[in-house]
């Protein structure tokens, strides 16, 4: 019987010739990413082990991105613990380089790998055909010590993309539309696999944005077929693919969806659920206090270019704080060289160093009681961006920037 991409990657990692959805296998991990959200707890547990050891230190990547630079004495203690441990054990360590998934994509991930990340948006790595999945710190520690873990082989939802996104519509609108269509647990325990002619119209930044958000439909992982765009991206970053898997023609999918990209419209996800999606036009005029352009989902150079083009020569509304946060130092420097940072600052935006920022609500930029944020971040859960009684709308870089200019939710065609 044919296998899906997810099954092929797990089979390779398990040393098995064939696996099928529903089986549990012991797998060898290729890479293990952890960030400052949970690593301090991983270290505490490590220190309590009877026989503490690291199977292969070269597989570990630790990234400080959630609260960087640190914002409190408590955070400083957690960071110091992480920093000291990484130094002592020779773990690859980044601090200030960017949001973990963007740093991983720029420096480490390659096609066909099986990667655990102690962060739910690890599914972003599917953009290059790698099986990335989010785990907690106990899972992470077990894999760090043994080099292995157990995995239930997921069923796969297949998305065949055709056509092309219209002008002014972005990958962000596409994935929010899909999440709205299948629901917040529509892909629970499953892999979401993307392919078809339409995929070729999406660049790597688009692909990362789509895969990154699949966990908001409950997905265990997201996977995209490897093509020239993937190989060019890897080559430009000095990497070779490990495996270039594609699903077999007779692979079994739990369901197959046909998506015509030309039918996608600008979308807004309303508070407090990512699947509460509506046509962006329905939200026009909604009051906002803050706008955020950044995150592992939408803080790449392509997103900043969209925002900069809209805001060039205009001003951020006087009653709005507009935070612009490049997803990595590489993105930041590129934006500087293109004059994009100057454009945002000229318009009155607050440009910050690469970090998770207000996307996770425990960093600079948090919003107060009853305040409203429009964001390119990953989530709009209750309290996600600060006060428990505050509101987050999710949208594309274009809609967020247009809203920052208007002082209320607006679409780019209104600018």
């Amino acid at each position: 019987m044919g296998m899906t991409m997810a099954e092929k990657i797990i089979a390779a990692a398990a040393g098995a010739s064939e696996v099928k959805a529903g089986d549990i296998h012991t797998v060898e991990l290729d890479r293990l990413m952890s960030n400052d959200g949970t690593t301090h707890l991983t270290i505490d547990m490590y220190n309590q082990l009877k026989e503490p050891r690291i199977a292969d230190v070269n597989k570990l990547v630790w990234i400080v991105d959630h609260n960087v630079p640190c914002d409190s004495v408590k955070t400083a203690a957690s960071h110091k613990k992480m920093r000291d441990f990484a130094k002592e054990h020779g773990i690859r360590f980044y601090e200030g380089a960017g949001v973990c998934h963007q740093v991983m994509m720029e420096n480490h991930v390659t096609s066909g790998e099986l990667i655990f990340g102690a962060d739910s948006h690890t599914c972003a790595y599917g953009a290059v055909g790698a099986f990335g999945t989010g785990v907690g710190c106990t899972d992470y520690l077990y894999a760090m010590v043994t080099g292995k873990s157990w995995l239930l082989v997921p069923e796969t939802l297949r998305f065949n993309l055709k056509g092309k996104l219209k002008e002014g519509v972005y990958a962000r609108d596409l994935i929010l539309s899909i999440i709205g269509m299948i629901g917040a647990n529509g892909a629970n325990y499953m892999a979401m696999e993307f392919g078809g002619e339409g995929l070729k119209t999406l660049n790597m930044s688009d692909r990362i944005a789509v895969c990154n958000l699949c966990v908001e439909a409950g997905a265990k992982t997201a996977l995209m077929e490897v093509d020239e765009i993937t190989l060019d991206y890897l080559k430009a970053h000095g990497r070779e693919p490990k495996h270039c898997f594609a699903s077999d023609d007779d692979a079994v999918f739990a369901h197959t969806y046909e998506i015509d990209l030309s039918t996608i419209k600008p979308i807004v996800a309303k508070p407090h659920f990512v699947d509460s999606v509506v046509d962006a036009k329905e939200c026009v005029g909604t009051h906002i206090d803050e706008a955020f352009l950044g995150s592992c989902n939408n803080g790449r150079i392509e997103d900043l270019r969209v925002g900069a083009e809209l805001i060039k020569g205009k001003k951020v509304h006087s009653l709005v704080r507009f935070l612009v946060v490049p997803a990595s130092a590489e993105v930041y420097r590129q934006a500087l060289s293109e004059g994009i940072i100057d454009t945002f600052m000229e318009a009155g935006a607050i440009v910050m160093n690469p970090n998770c920022s207000v996307c996770w609500g425990s960093c600079q930029g948090v919003i107060g009681e009853n305040e409203v944020l429009i964001s390119t971040g990953t989530r709009n859960f209750k309290g996600r961006a600060g006060h428990k009684d505050s509101f987050v709308y999710l949208a594309s870089a274009a809609t967020v920037t247009a809203s920052a200019i208007k002082g209320e939710i607006a679409t780019a065609d209104m600018i």
């Binding site: 549990i24 949970t38 990340g117 739910s120 785990v135 106990t138 966990v215 659920f273 859960f381």
Partner: protein, 155 residues
């Protein structure tokens, strides 16, 4: 028997423990903030042996293991839901917090009711009635029986 604390569908891990607390040095420092945005009295009222009962997709969102960890630290005996988001489910088993799917319990109990769960039988008993749960796959029950993944590693 333990008391039921009842929660709706799509309870995300930010509601179980908010971002600003997860970077605290220890689980004990975080646990007093569990469910703060949904039920501010939860952490002070829940007692050893009590249960959390929820609707669909419990624990969706972030991979923060602090979510099941604070519930376990507060003495929650198990979480019984119509369905779980996968990372929460996996994390709970890995740290030794029993979680089990029961499709019919949620609609038939109220907050404050008393119940008892047998993981081995996959049965909830409450108010003179029995509710069948979906028993855990043997592999995962094995991890729970050993007290979680780290306890297994230490053996």
């Amino acid at each position: 028997m333990g008391k039921i604390f009842k929660f709706h569908q799509d309870v995300d891990t930010d509601q179980i423990i908010a971002s600003q607390y997860i970077i605290y040095p220890t689980i004990d420092e975080m646990k007093v903030h569990a469910f703060e945005s949904l039920d501010a009295a939860f952490a002070s009222q829940v007692q050893e042996g009590d249960y959390v009962v929820a609707s669909e997709n419990f624990g969706c969102g972030s991979s923060r293991e602090q979510a099941p960890a604070v519930l376990k630290a507060l003495g929650v005996k198990a979480v019984v839901a119509k369905s779980f988001a996968r990372i929460f489910y996996r994390n709970a088993i890995n740290i030794g917090l029993p979680v089990i799917v029961c499709k019919d319990l949620y609609e038939n109990v109220n907050a404050g009711d008393e119940m008892e769960l047998s993981m081995k039988e996959g049965v909830v008993r409450t108010g003179g009635r029995e509710f069948q749960c979906t028993k855990l796959p043997e592999y995962m029950q094995g991890i729970l029986d050993q007290g979680g993944l780290i306890a297994a590693l230490n053996k």
